[in-house]
């Protein structure tokens, strides 16, 4: 009996009495209270204030993704739950916020659920961090594009591999061509920032000046800052400021204006329209080599090809309508009428092409023209086995003159395009 009473007394005293608070416990509680004693940040003001620079900094240290989707930094649900809890304490908040932003989309759902957390501090801070994560996910493809373009510029700068610097920058950023490039061959810190770009504060007396805030942001963000129209660092903007390296760091910077970036929160998009024939032929040509890790690499295009103006040798085609491209046949749907989205990379720069595959207008041939069209087609078919080059000319002539007619059926088109592709391949 005594043993049971003895055991119960031990358990009651150990479980039902408050733990003894050590000096360290009191120090922690005091630090926590002092953090709360300050005015509560309105809607995560503290986190949001650092967000612009922090977001770019985090994006810069993430490894470049092999596909347009962003890989998650390794973190277990328990890790994420602990980090969210850490948002409630001032001494751990900044570190936890940075880590959650680095984790990215996998942290989003738990962060959104934290809106109902019992700690009001965590409710506010978690929603501020969730907002940054969402924004980071949206702008990531565009930031990747700019980073890759800047890497090309810096490489050429270090190798002195250019005669016209502005042209080198334009080439590096293609197809998002900057409409203004400003090279500043010295580093100056002044009160105002003058880009000589439209919409940005002009201070004629203090040209080429960087504010200390911009210099600090450049130092923190690997030499890249997006600048808002007021001249302050922001998370994404059409005004891009980046440094050029020298032996001791950087001594020159470039400011450029790339019009499409500010609105391109989900990646830079370009539009292109082609006919069924051009695209049909393009996807049939033996131009595409599957790349290890996914995607198709574009080979050398005939300069006369209508698509040569858009595609370049070395371009990497990633996905078509969100479906990964692993073999050349996966490109076939691009030649079907309608709109398609092609995700691709050029020299490491990811962007999207909204491709429109257009059909010719269907014509009703006149009684006089119909026999002529029929004869031309038969002649091309007959010539094909013995003289493919001549047949190619006849088919091209037929498409040019009667491509919109009822004679040019879907099956006929497929046959002709197959033969044209075969003939062109033989030539290559």
């Amino acid at each position: 009996m005594t043993t049971i009473l003895d055991d119960n007394c031990r358990r009651l005293l150990r479980t039902c009495t408050p733990p003894r608070l050590t000096e360290a416990d009191l120090d922690r509680a005091l630090a926590r209270f002092e953090g709360r004693r300050r005015p509560a940040p309105a809607h995560g003001r503290v986190v949001a204030a650092a967000a612009a620079v922090l977001l770019i900094a985090v994006l810069l240290v993430w490894p470049s993704p092999p596909t347009p989707t962003i890989p998650a930094t390794q973190a277990t649900p328990d890790d994420i739950a602990q980090l969210i809890k850490d948002l409630g304490a001032p001494e751990t908040r900044e570190k936890a916020a940075a880590r959650l932003i680095a984790i990215g989309p996998p942290a989003l759902a738990p962060l959104e659920r934290a809106l109902y957390h019992e700690d009001p501090e965590i409710r506010v801070q978690s929603q501020a961090v969730a907002k940054i994560v969402r924004r980071g996910h949206e702008i990531r493809p565009t930031v990747d594009f700019v980073l890759a373009a800047i890497k090309i510029v810096r490489t050429r700068w270090s190798a002195r591999d250019f005669t016209d610097f502005d042209k080198a920058v334009v080439e590096a950023f293609h197809p998002e061509v900057p409409d203004q490039v400003r090279y500043v061959p010295r580093r100056t810190i002044e009160e105002f920032f003058d880009t000589q770009l439209p919409g940005v504060k002009m201070v004629p007396a203090k040209k080429d000046a960087l504010t200390p805030a911009l210099v600090a942001a450049l130092e923190k963000n690997d030499g890249l800052v997006f600048v808002g129209r007021g001249g302050a660092p922001v998370d994404l903007s059409e005004i891009v400021l980046f440094t050029l390296p020298d032996k001791v760091g950087w001594s020159a910077y470039v400011v450029l204006h790339v019009g499409g970036i500010e609105t391109a929160v989900e990646g830079l998009r370009y539009q292109h329209a082609s006919s069924e024939e051009d695209l049909g032929l393009f996807v049939r040509l033996p131009l595409f080599t599957p790349r290890e890790g996914g995607g198709l690499t574009v080979g050398a295009l005939d300069p006369k090809s209508p698509l040569a103006a858009f595609f370049r040798k070395g371009d990497l085609l990633r996905t078509l309508d969100d479906k990964p491209l692993a073999a050349p046949k996966d490109l076939a749907p691009m030649a079907e009428r309608g709109y398609h989205t092609l995700a691709m990379e050029r020299q490491g720069k990811p962007f999207l092409i909204e491709m429109r595959c257009a059909a010719r207008v269907l014509l009703k041939l006149s009684p006089k023209a119909e026999p002529e069209a029929q004869r031309l087609l038969e002649l091309a078919d007959q010539t094909w086995p013995t003289n493919p080059d001549r047949a190619l000319e006849l088919y091209t002539d037929f498409i040019a003159r009667f491509g919109g007619s009822e004679l040019y059926t879907k099956e006929r088109r497929a046959q002709i395009l197959d033969r044209m592709a075969e003939a062109m391949s033989r030539k290559r």
Partner: protein
């Protein structure tokens, strides 16, 4: 006290915090980390409203009244059923059967233990604390208090009985 909090938060805090912590702990079934959350909420609320403090009572009493509201909010949000009847049965059978683990973490049990310890004779409370919280063997307790082992053994027996009796009385 209000001025003391304003002027020297650190020393006031170290004085006030453990008392409010104990108060909240003994009235909720919360883990220490969650108790700390409620205490922090109480102190932050008190700090924000410190100008409303009219000095009609002590600052600590005023904070404890805020803590009471916070505890009431906590219970309202949980809507848990009372375990008072279960606790009473367990205490009644304290010498016959182990107290169920889930009852050890109820606010009712904590409040009874807190109340019993406060009313317990100091000598009994001391030996119970040394034996069960500090986990000292009887011999070490005897050495520390300068008494014989048999005296400590017999005092422990009386202390356990007194503690059991006080637990049986509602706080």
């Amino acid at each position: 006290m209000l001025h003391a909090v304003d002027a020297d938060l650190q020393s006031s805090f170290r004085d006030i915090y453990p008392r409010i912590f104990r108060f909240v702990f003994s009235r909720t079934g919360l883990d220490p980390a969650d108790v700390d959350d409620l205490v922090q909420e109480t102190l932050a609320h008190g700090w924000q409203r410190r100008r409303e403090f009219l000095e009609q009572a002590s600052f600590e009493t005023w904070l404890l009244s805020i803590a009471r509201h916070k505890i009431a909010d906590y219970w309202r949000s949980r809507r848990t059923r009372s375990r008072a009847a279960d606790v009473a049965v367990a205490i009644d059978r304290l010498a016959q059967a182990p107290v169920p683990e889930d009852l050890l973490r109820t606010a009712e049990m904590r409040e009874r233990v807190d109340s019993a310890l406060r009313r317990l004779d100091d000598d009994y409370a001391r030996v119970l604390t040394l034996r069960y919280l500090d986990d000292l063997p009887v011999k070490a307790i005897a050495e520390r208090l300068g008494e014989t082992e048999s005296a400590i053994e017999s005092r422990l027996t009386r202390a356990r009985d007194a503690f059991r009796n006080l637990l049986g009385e509602p706080p």
